[in-house]
């Protein structure tokens, strides 16, 4: 965690990530299971957009590694893709911040696709259209998550 002395609210960031992990794990009804949005990725993307000096590639990599362990996948896939996505976010965060929310959501969609491709390729489920459902739900939910996390950030004065 790249905390400097002047920054505050690091525990809030960790807390939101943990809550997002819980949301990933809590059982859904069967017909919604496949459409589970990428809560954790959205949370990390938000913090990288808002506080690029704090949440960087290393942070994302660690979160991704924990996600690998949680979901029981091969260790390192999510870690790599989270790191990669956050790299892109950091590279373009100034542009993405300026976009209206719906356009932001579209860029997030592209990034989530990037995350999903290696995972899907590993499980050889390419032809099954339902593996792409999380991309859609993540895109749709992004504005809500964004608004919520911004509220959290302002309430607890995370900087």
């Amino acid at each position: 965690m790249a905390t400097t002395r002047s920054s505050q609210g690091g525990s809030i960031i960790v807390l939101t990530v943990i809550v997002a992990m819980l949301l990933m794990l809590i059982p859904f009804p069967d017909n919604l299971r496949l459409a589970r949005p990428e809560w954790v990725l959205m949370t990390v993307i938000y913090w990288a957009l808002a506080l690029p000096q704090r949440v960087g590639v290393g942070y994302a990599w660690v979160v991704g590694l924990i996600m690998d362990a949680l979901m029981g996948g091969p260790l390192g896939i999510e870690a790599f893709s989270y790191g990669f996505v956050i790299y892109l976010i950091l590279r373009f965060h100034l542009q993405i911040r300026q976009y209206p929310l719906w356009q932001q959501a579209l860029s997030i969609m592209a990034l989530v696709l990037v995350v999903n491709i290696p995972a899907v390729a590993m499980t050889s489920n390419f032809t099954n259209w339902s593996v792409w459902l999380p991309v859609v739900t993540t895109t749709v939910l992004w504005p809500i998550v964004y608004a919520f996390l911004r509220m959290v950030r302002q309430t607890f004065n995370v900087s």
């Binding site: 794990l25 809590i26 059982p27 299971r33 996948g73 489920n125 593996v131």
Partner: protein, 277 residues
């Protein structure tokens, strides 16, 4: 590679609390529905349970007789008899993993004596096997996982084959059986015990469909798993008996002769399994 395993183990121990917390809502739902059951339902359930209990204890008496008889006969034949396996009851954590990998998390780990490769059963049949163990929890791969293969035999005639998983909600497939193999729809499959990982004679499933694709060497045989993979919450982990361990070692030593022996053995055991039913 050892470093990786250790790192993975540590990581899994770290995330275990998150999994436990995530399973609260599911558990709470279960608990609530148990708590708010009305008296009549419970009464009805109790009557039904008592009836099955009576039935089971009658069957058990018969089974004990058969078991004793079986042991005696085996002593006459000079072959060793496997003791009944001991089991450990574990509960599933109600957490959702990647919907495309067929895995479940169990609430027993190294501290309870769970080990890698341990067979997992539910009340109706084989569920899968343990693939990863940490101190407090373990992860089991279900039969339906595409990378899971299970040595089985047909209860009716002892025909041996391997049942391969094909992913969520799909039936298992019986591999490499030629078109004229003696299989019928409705045949019950049990574990064959070959490979030494699963105990002999546990039900695996029933054959629900057989297709003979033109121009293919092998038949396409679909199996419906006996275990309730989606609904079981309590599972049994089979602990090997000491006798079985030594037997397994002996079998390894005598691997060359094993082929002819194994045929005989599975045939014997398939008859005993039929007796159970």
């Amino acid at each position: 590679m050892d470093y990786f395993a250790a790192a993975r183990g540590t990581l899994l121990n770290i995330v275990y609390p998150i999994q436990v917390v995530a399973s609260f809502p599911g558990d709470a739902k279960e608990w609530m529905s148990e708590f708010f059951q009305n008296r009549d339902d419970l009464k009805e359930k109790n009557i039904a349970l008592e009836a099955t209990n009576l039935l089971n204890s009658v069957r058990l008496q018969k089974l004990q007789n058969l078991e004793r008889e079986n042991t005696r006969l085996r002593e006459l034949l000079g072959s060793s008899f496997r003791l009944t396996e001991r089991v450990l009851v574990a509960e599933l954590l109600s957490v959702d993993l990647d919907p495309f990998s067929q895995q479940v998390v169990l609430n027993k780990g190294l501290n309870d004596g769970v080990f890698n490769g341990q067979p997992v059963l539910d009340a109706h049949g084989v569920m899968g096997q343990v693939t990863e163990v940490t101190n407090f929890s373990s992860r089991a791969m279900l039969l339906t996982d595409p990378s899971h293969g299970l040595p089985v035999q047909i209860n009716r005639n002892g025909l041996r084959a391997v049942a391969i998983g094909r992913g969520m909600g799909e039936p298992l497939q019986l591999e490499h059986l030629v078109h004229n193999a003696d299989v019928r729809v409705g045949d019950v499959l049990v574990t064959s015990g070959l490979g030494g990982r699963f105990p002999v004679g546990y039900p695996v499933g029933t054959i629900i469909a057989i297709n003979y694709p033109q121009g293919k060497a092998f038949a396409d045989i679909n199996i419906k798993p006996a275990a309730e993979l989606d609904t079981s919450r309590e599972v049994l982990l089979v602990l090997p008996t000491e006798k079985q361990k030594t037997e397994a070692e002996a079998e390894e030593n005598a691997a060359i002769e094993a082929d002819s022996d194994a045929t005989e053995k599975t045939e014997n055991e398939s008859t005993s399994a039929e007796n159970l039913n």
